[in-house]
Amino acid sequence: MSESFKVKLIHLAPVIVSLLFSISCAYLLMASRMKVFEITPFQEESPVGPISNALYFVVLVGLGALVLFLLLRNGRFRLVIFVTGFALISAVFLLSMVYFYAFSMIFVPLPTGVLVAVPALITVSVGYVFYGTKSRLCDLLVLLLGGALGTLLGACIRTLSTVLILCFLAVYDAFAVYRGPVGKIARVGLEKLRGLSFSFRNIQMGLGDLTFYSMLVSHMLLYFGVIPCLASMAGVLVGCFLAFSMLEREGVFPGLPIPIFVGLALGFLFVPLV
């Protein structure tokens, strides 16, 4: 980030693009009325289910970041590229399958071969942009990937677990950026890891931030409707603006806590109106 960085409304544009794409993905899932499998390991209905799910996610994210940091510190850059690349490509294939399937359910039911071939083609194209070019399109794809991934998480995780996962991750993020592996990875050079972050007018954000903003906004749409969704989106944007303002002074600032807490508060404020 350059010394002369001053936050402006235009800095919110990437987040808006990602959230709008997330809402479109959520609409696809909603309109297809397809069965959605819950992906949390503990049942929402059990007394400690939601809190166990939140801890499970934080441990997963924390371990992932720690392994990534240790590999980077030991100079295993090629291995990191391979591991993150494999994860990204798998995610792109899975997400394209889910959303293309939902799309086909709404418009025209397609044979299984087509339902696999088109996502495979999308995955190859995205992989080429990520690893075969140095195009700015890569940044746009990160925004879309964050939106699509967050929507799937928002759809497949029930409300209390979603809220606790987001809160726990926001708290973890605050710790991880200053004292944990995330800040250290950022200092090593997050931009070297294609597909894991994007930069826009001196602001650099991780894929994780976009994913969890989208998870919140799409969950509000799928489970509570349009008004709480728009309110949470407004909250995330206000939170992002505040977080970006902190970047002016701090240089590095956790992207999750303020947008997530403001987004959750505003979203749930409007739930009783539905």
């Binding site: 297809s32 069965k35 499998f37 049942q43 359910m105 039911p109």
Partner: protein
């Protein structure tokens, strides 16, 4: 094979009589009949936050009923409420595999649920497919990979509409072999 159709909660009679007729066509070797008893929806199955009923709890109720009454080899419970199993946002039905008890929900089968105009024939056809599918499970059949076979797992109403109300050759052969084995034992 004698199949009993059991109402769980309030169900329109015309729907049940059409479903009975259709099941008699789908299972020509079986006799399908509407049970006069009506079970109440178990209140403990209702999940307030989801606004849905847990299908496994309702299925247990049908299981108990099917074991008490010896008159039917298979009992198909029909509900007109939204049902789910933990881990899925909804299900069209559930069954023992193999076993005696099966359950279908009519809630998501009406075209009105999907914002379309009412269509009784489409609704009955969907109910028949789901009923044959769940009864297929009670006979020991698993899900089939053929998207046109009634035993195909419907992930959405579009897939229910795409499949036929009949078993594919492979599934039908399985049923026959299961019956032959049962006959021999």
């Amino acid at each position: 094979m004698k199949i009993g159709i059991l109402r769980v909660g309030e169900i329109p009679t015309d729907v049940l009589s059409r479903l009975t007729e259709n099941l008699n066509i789908s299972f020509p070797e079986a006799r399908c009949q509407l049970i006069s008893d009506v079970l109440a929806l178990p209140s403990q199955a209702f999940n307030n936050t989801r606004g849905q009923y847990r299908s496994d709890i309702i299925l247990d109720l049908i299981k108990d009923y099917s074991h008490k009454t010896k008159a039917f080899s298979h009992v198909l419970g029909v509900v007109d409420v939204d049902i789910y199993v933990p881990g899925l946002n909804f299900v069209f039905g559930e069954a023992e595999c193999p076993g005696k008890a099966a359950l279908i929900s009519l809630w998501r089968l009406r075209p009105e649920f999907y914002g379309k105009p009412p269509n009784f024939e489409v609704f009955i056809e969907r109910a028949t497919k789901e009923a044959v599918h769940e009864l297929g499970h009670t006979l020991g059949l698993g899900h089939c990979a053929n998207p046109f076979c009634v035993m195909y797992f419907s992930n959405s109403i579009f897939e229910t509409d795409r499949k036929k109300s009949l078993f594919c050759n492979k599934c039908y052969s399985k049923i026959l072999s299961l019956f032959n084995l049962a006959g021999k034992s």
